[in-house]
Structures are given as structure tokens and as C-alpha cells.
């Protein structure tokens, strides 16, 4: 399974549109794209998961590393378009308490 990551920059916000499944094989592609912006001062990133139906723990590892790097430069990460399964993953891991998450329908789920 392939993973495609389209990157767009709107003003100061980097939007990553992720398409496909994020697992041990495809996670390096996502990591490579995210790392390009992770250490920019006050980096603001939006990760669009609306076309991701599965992410395993390797994917979560890539996300966690990105989150830590962005926090270290006083930046912010927002996640949009997660389906039910992914939302549950972010809730179980407690990541929904430290990252702003919007579901597919657009309802917000608390902020940092």
C-alpha cells in the first residue's frame, strides 16, 4: 500500500494532506515530509487525516516525534478529518488532551 503526502502552505500554516494507510512500511514517507518543517521556529502544522483509514503504532511514533519537535520550537499541531477508528486511537493514547483534533464532520474536540 502506498502513502501519498501532499504539502500545502497557507500563510504560515503547513497543511499535510495524507492519503493512504500509515503503517511500518509507509510511515517513513510521512516522517520525511514532516521533518522538513518540524524544526522551523513556531511551526504551525495541520495534519489532514480525512483520507487515512488506518494508522498503526509506527505511524503514531512518527506523529509523536513530530509533536515533540514542534513543541520544542513553540509551534502547534492540529489534526483534522479523523474517522471514528482514528479518533478512538487518539483518545485511548491520551493524545487528544494535548493536540487539537477535529473529526470528519468538523466538530471540534477540545483544544490544548
Amino acid at each position: 500500500m502506498n502513502l501519498q503526502v501532499d504539502v500545502e502552505q497557507n500563510d504560515c500554516v503547513h497543511v499535510f494532506k495524507i492519503i493512504g494507510e500509515i503503517d511500518a512500511f509507509t510511515a517513513p514517507t510521512l516522517k520525511e515530509q514532516l521533518e522538513k518543517v518540524a524544526d522551523q521556529p513556531e511551526c504551525q502544522a495541520v495534519l489532514d487525516f480525512s483520507q487515512v483509514n488506518y494508522m498503526d503504532s509506527t505511524g503514531l511514533g512518527v506523529f509523536v516525534a513530530f509533536y515533540k519537535k514542534v513543541k520544542a520550537v513553540d509551534g502547534s499541531v492540529k489534526i483534522v478529518g479523523v474517522n471514528k477508528r482514528l479518533k478512538r486511537l487518539f483518545e485511548i493514547t491520551g493524545l487528544d488532551d494535548i493536540v487539537e483534533i477535529e473529526m470528519e464532520s468538523g466538530d471540534s474536540n477540545g483544544t490544548v
Binding site: D56, S57, T58, L60, G61, V62, V64, A65, Y67, K68, K69, I92, T93, G94, L95, D97, I98
Partner: protein, 333 residues
């Protein structure tokens, strides 16, 4: 290229062409060793051969000279590919050694034994998908009839993962006589882990303890899959979730602590995502399927229940685990 070796090669070649003597072939082998010592590449050897031929047969060299240039070009790429291949093999060997060490650490250092607490029946299955597991289970038995367990899933591989597991073990061991409250244990382990882990690593962990005197099961979770409680008198399952962030992400984290009372026939299943995210050709195995299996086995001893669940789910996934598989079951007798 060192001229001395070049001259030696040229002289040897001339001698061999004249006499075709086997001792010269042996000498050629010695020269080739010198080439390796002096790091002379295969294409340089061909270039040397070309120069020698030009000296020995000047007329012939005009005709066949370009063929050597052709061969040199081929050998340059051949040499590069060979070098790349060898470096990959070296890397693979290094990784294998690290993996072997990590497996040893896991087998010896991280051993655990199932507590024997009156009135509590414990079952355990933990199977790695590959050689080394990212799942970790550690039990502690207290003198006053308490059984504590940590079920953890470490993201990452090899030695770093094994070392993370040792942090959990030593964290729990150091707290064993003082404070075993889930909230406190998770906080302490989080602080140990947060300081020492690489950015892309994290651990999810469920921690629970059963107290014989009160029959209470107290638990907390650091970003781990919720445990399942089977209520025998109601014949239903309840998810035991507790809010808490994965270990190793932030320094100060609040972990929710909850407790439930267990009655006779009740059991609690603690698991890793290798159990809940099992996949077959049609997709994910539904949670209902797992619950039904547990229900049919509810009257059996704890070990039989977990063994049955593993066998069945393994079969459903065509005898192939995609992820490490761990199940711990506490059953109130």
C-alpha cells in the same frame, strides 16, 4: 597506483605469455593480494593490464585497446554495486548482533513469574510477531496478598525497546514496598522514561493491582488499550478505561485511577493492540468475535481461556501474527 606493483605485474604477464608456466600463475595470485592490500580497484587492475599489453604487443594494442576501455567502464559500476552490497551485508550483521543481544536481555533480565494470590486465578499469553517482542508483561506479588501487573507495548525495536522495558521493571521493583497505587506507579515510570527516551519512542501501559482483602482491582492507563471486565452475574462486558497520556511524551502527566470490585466468576482481560487489531483477509477481526470467545470459555481456568483465545485468533489470521500478541487474565475464583 604504486608503480612498483605495476611493474611487477607487467613483468609477470610478459613471462607468462612467453612460457605459460604455472609458477607464474601462482605469483599472479600473490600480486592480486598486494592489489587488495594497496586498495587497488578492479578497474585499475584492468587499466594496468591494458598498459602492460600495450608495452608487450604495441601493434595488437591499437586494435584491442578500446575493448579494455569498455571493460573498465563495466567494472567501475560492477565495483560500486559490489561495495554497496557488502556494506548492506555488514549493516545487516550488525543489526542481527544487536537483535540477539536485545532478545537475550528480554529473556533473561526481564523474566517475570505469575503471582500466587489466594482467590485469584491468573492466565498469561505473550507471543512476539517476530523474533523480538515489543510487548512486555511484568508481575509483582506483595506479601499481603496483592498482585500487581503491568502490560505494556513499547514502540520501537531492538536494544532501545528492551531497555525501555527494563525501566518499567526497575521502576516497579523500586516501588514495590512503598507505594503501588496505579497513579503513582505510572507517574514515576513516566518520569524515568521521559528523560531517557528517543523522540520517536513511546510506551503504552496498563497497570492494575488486585487486593485479596477487599477483592478490589485498582487500575490506571498510560495511553493503553482499555481492559475488559466480565461481570458474571450480569453476563456482560465493561470497558475499563482510564484517562492518561502515553509514557515518555510529557514530563508531568495526570493519570486517572479507578477501581472495581470483583465478585466470584468475574474476570478482567488486559491486552495489547495485537489482540484487538488482528486482521484477516476480510479486514479487522471484530471485537464482538473476541467477546463471544471469552463468553464461551468463562467457566474455564484463566490459562485455558487465554490459550483458547490465542489459538483461535491465530487461526483466524491464517497462522500469522501481524503484531505482538499479549493477553493477561485475572479471574476471581
Amino acid at each position: 597506483m604504486p608503480q612498483e606493483v605495476g611493474k611487477q605485474y607487467s613483468a609477470l604477464l610478459q613471462k607468462y605469455i612467453q612460457h605459460e608456466d604455472e609458477t607464474d600463475l601462482y605469483a599472479a595470485q600473490q600480486v592480486s593480494r598486494k592489489f587488495i592490500e594497496k586498495k587497488i580497484s578492479p578497474e585499475e587492475v584492468i587499466s594496468l593490464h591494458k598498459t602492460s599489453v600495450e608495452e608487450i604487443f604495441p601493434e595488437l594494442a591499437v586494435k584491442i585497446g578500446p575493448s579494455y576501455d569498455f571493460l573498465i567502464e563495466v567494472m567501475i559500476h560492477y565495483g560500486l554495486a559490489l561495495m554497496e552490497h557488502q556494506s548492506l551485508i555488514r549493516k545487516q550483521e550488525a543489526m542481527q548482533i544487536e537483535m540477539d543481544v536485545a532478545v537475550k536481555v528480554q529473556d533473561m533480565l526481564l523474566e517475570t513469574s505469575i503471582p500466587k494470590v489466594e482467590g485469584l486465578d491468573i492466565g498469561l499469553v505473550s507471543k512476539p510477531a517476530k523474533k523480538m517482542s515489543g510487548d512486555y508483561v511484568y508481575f509483582i506479588e506483595q506479601k499481603d496478598g496483592e498482585a500487581c501487573v503491568a502490560v505494556a507495548d513499547v514502540m520501537g525495536k531492538g536494544l532501545p525497546a528492551a531497555l525501555c522495558m527494563s525501566m518499567i521493571k526497575f521502576g516497579m521493583d523500586s516501588l514495590r514496598s512503598s507505594a503501588t497505587e496505579p497513579q503513582h506507579v505510572l507517574q514515576v515510570i513516566n518520569q524515568i522514561v521521559e528523560k531517557s527516551m528517543d523522540d520517536s519512542m513511546f510506551i503504552s501501559m496498563f497497570y492494575g493491582k488486585f487486593d485479596k482483602k477487599t477483592c478490589e482491582f485498582t487500575y490506571g492507563s498510560a495511553g493503553h488499550e482499555p481492559a475488559l471486565l466480565y461481570r458474571a452475574d450480569e453476563d456482560r462486558f465493561i470497558e475499563l478505561d482510564a484517562k492518561g497520556l502515553l509514557l515518555g511524551i510529557r514530563k508531568d502527566v495526570d493519570f486517572q485511577q479507578k477501581s472495581v470490585e470483583m465478585s466470584s466468576g468475574d474476570f478482567i482481560v488486559m491486552l495489547t493492540d495485537g489482540v484487538t487489531e488482528g486482521r484477516n483477509a476480510e479486514g479487522f477481526i471484530e471485537e464482538e468475535v473476541i467477546l463471544d470467545m471469552l463468553r464461551t470459555m468463562k467457566d474455564r481456568p484463566a490459562q485455558q481461556i487465554v490459550d483458547h483465545l490465542y489459538t483461535e485468533l491465530f487461526k483466524m489470521q491464517n497462522y500469522m501474527l501481524h503484531d505482538d500478541f499479549t493477553l493477561v487474565l485475572f479471574k476471581k475464583e
